[in-house]
């Protein structure tokens, strides 16, 4: 793939009159992990949902594989781009397995899933450590369990781009680590991973690129080392921060001192 996975140019979005996003321009490549960071209300989720094709009415350009996201046929887009919402609230008694299998919907025309669908869904559930939840009522799962199932559903879409809105929010430490491992793996397989996160260390440790948004504008875009400097963190998040060397070699951002 020569073209960038996502190309944003002069991307803007406004609710009524107030701008939520302003002049966002950048490219994300396949096989990258891009973390979107920023304080509350910076426009992180808006940016992500525009890329996921869930929000029209933006200005500027938002292209996936060279074509504007709004110009993709829905099903074709869903075969390439998967979106993981912050939470999924379901009114009806779908089992976890059914939720995961829903990820296979864009791939078949028939009324029933085929062998391949089951195999892909099963692998996705194994990766997300939620096989044992398969028969459970999705509504009765804990927040973390749901998050794992929803991630599995997104992986079942075998996406070329995986967009996640705070995927670690409800996960315990073990599953956070496990999920980040899975996402790293997915990334290595050539998938673009874009995640909105509040945890700067997750961004620093796992992401190849970090987008730092502030009040709808791109404050910085580059590697974590370039973007997440103590000065910027202080300016953007209004907290003191310092970089601590880790024994393993990387850096740790310590903040709230």
């Amino acid at each position: 793939m020569s073209a960038a996975a996502f190309r944003l140019a002069g991307l803007g979005f406004a609710y009524d009159q107030s701008a939520v996003l302003h002049d966002v321009s950048m490219e994300w490549q396949a096989g990258e992990w891009v973390a979107i960071c920023g304080p509350n209300g910076a426009g992180k989720s808006t940016l992500l949902t525009i890329c996921a094709g869930l929000r029209g009415g933006y200005t500027g350009t938002c292209e996936f594989q060279g074509r504007g996201v709004g110009r993709w046929a829905r099903r074709a887009f869903a075969r390439k781009v998967a979106f993981v919402p912050q939470t999924l609230r379901v009114e009806f008694p779908f089992s976890a397995e059914q939720v995961v299998l829903m990820g296979r919907t864009p791939f078949g025309d028939g009324l029933f899933e085929g062998e391949e669908d089951f195999a892909v869904a099963r692998r996705a559930m194994e990766r997300c450590d939620c096989m044992e939840l398969a028969k459970r009522d999705f509504r009765e799962l804990s927040g973390g369990e749901r998050q794992r199932v929803v991630l599995a559903a997104a992986l079942a879409q075998s996406p070329e781009a995986l967009l996640l809105d705070e995927p670690a929010a409800f996960l315990d430490l073990k599953h956070q680590q496990r999920m980040h491992g899975v996402l790293s793996e997915v990334k290595r397989e050539g998938t673009l991973v874009v995640s909105v996160t509040h945890d700067l260390n997750h961004a620093a440790v796992y992401a190849d690129k970090v987008v730092l948004l502030e009040a709808g504008r791109v404050r910085a875009f580059g590697t974590a080392r370039e973007v997440l400097t103590p000065e910027r963190i202080r300016e953007v998040f209004a907290v003191e921060a310092e970089l601590v060397a880790r024994r393993s070699g990387g850096q740790w951002i310590a903040y709230g001192l």
Binding site: T49, A52, G53, L54, R74, R75, F77, A78, R79, V81, A82, F83, P85, L88, R89, V90, E91, F92, P93, F94, S95, E97, Q98, V99, M102, G103, T105, P106, L111, F112, E113, G114, E115, F118, A119, A121, R122, M125, M131, A134, K135, E140, Q157
Partner: protein, 337 residues
């Protein structure tokens, strides 16, 4: 997990088949039950009046009950998926009352049927359902989006307004008119016009087939609008089509039977507890079991107080109400345990 296709597919076969058996049994048995004494021997020997009672009244009535019940349960299933709210049904969305208002307007202001044979009341009821639906949707939509909360609120409002207008018309109606109006306040399976029943059958089966074909998309929409959109469903188009489909079904039923409540809530709800939320099962099963349920209710309605015909809506509410409460109770226990 059903990694092998076998067990998964089996379930999609035997569950609807079981429902079909229940419906078939109901259709075979209920025509023989009734207020007047009809024997099989006399019917098959063609003895009057048994043969006329059986073929001209009981069979069409049982068929209409099965169609109407199936259609109401189907419409309930579809509306609940579209709104992700298990309290949505043709009645709460104002469609049934709209149909009633249309019928009552025709009764009060329509010219007497001058032998044209045109079912003026049915046409008026159908238009009433369509108008009520458009009004509700218009009130609830903001641009291309429809909020389910405002849809339910608008439904309740349109309901109340329609009933208010009906009661207003009733205060000035003639004696005969007020009896005809009563019939549209309560709802009853007492139409004996084979063409109308056949038309309803075509509408309902076509709608059910169309919905079933897209059952996986219905699953996605039932899980969430964004969820569906990011899995390949053109949601705003799907929602519009879905609302039109559900309203056409609900309106066609209400045009013949008047408002029959509870069915659209109770059958889908009970089914979800029994077979889960998969619309590949819900759509055919609600059609089949809803039909069987209303056929049984209507048999009770036309039998228990014979020769009086109790409005079937009363029966569905009396049977359905306690059942519904029992289901809710069970759900609470599951939540809190």
């Amino acid at each position: 997990m059903d990694t092998d296709r076998g067990p998964g597919l089996n379930r999609f076969v035997w569950v609807p088949f079981l429902c079909l058996v229940v419906l078939a049994a109901t259709l075979v048995v209920t025509p023989w039950i009734g207020s007047s004494h009809v024997t099989a021997a006399r019917v098959f020997a063609g003895v009057s009046p048994d043969v006329e009672i059986f073929y001209q009244f009981r069979v069409p009535r049982v068929l209409l009950a099965a169609l109407a019940g199936g259609a109401l349960a189907l419409a309930g299933t579809l509306f609940q998926a579209l709104l992700r709210d298990s309290l949505a049904d043709p009645f709460t969305l104002g469609i049934s009352s709209g149909a009633s208002l249309g019928a009552v307007l025709a009764i009060c202001f329509g010219t007497r049927d001058g032998g044209t044979g045109l079912p003026v009341v049915w046409l008026a009821a159908l238009s009433g359902a369509a108008l009520a639906f458009l009004l509700v949707l218009g009130l609830a939509s903001q641009g291309p989006r429809v909020s389910s909360f405002s849809l339910l609120m608008a439904g309740v409002t349109v309901n109340t307004m329609a009933i208010a207008v009906i009661l207003l018309l009733k205060t000035t109606a003639s004696n005969a008119q007020s009896f005809a109006i009563n019939r549209w306040l309560m709802g009853s399976i007492d139409s004996h016009e084979p063409p109308a029943i056949a038309t309803l059958g075509v509408v309902v089966l076509a709608a059910a087939g169309y919905a079933w074909k897209n059952a996986r998309a219905w699953n996605l929409v039932a899980a969430g609008e964004e969820w569906a959109a990011s899995r390949g469903v053109d949601t705003s188009r799907f929602l519009w089509r879905g609302f039109i489909l559900g309203s056409a079904v609900a309106g066609s039923v209400a045009a013949l039977t008047g408002p029959v409540g509870f069915l659209g809530l109770i059958v889908p709800h009970a089914l979800r507890l029994m077979v889960g939320a998969d619309h590949r099962l819900l759509i055919p099963c609600s059609l089949l079991l809803g039909g069987a349920f209303l056929a049984v209710c209507d048999t009770a309605a036309r039998t228990v107080a014979a020769p009086n015909d109790i409005p079937v809506g009363v029966v569905t509410a009396m049977l359905g109400g306690p059942f519904f409460l029992w289901l809710l109770k069970g759900r609470q226990q599951r939540f809190w345990s």
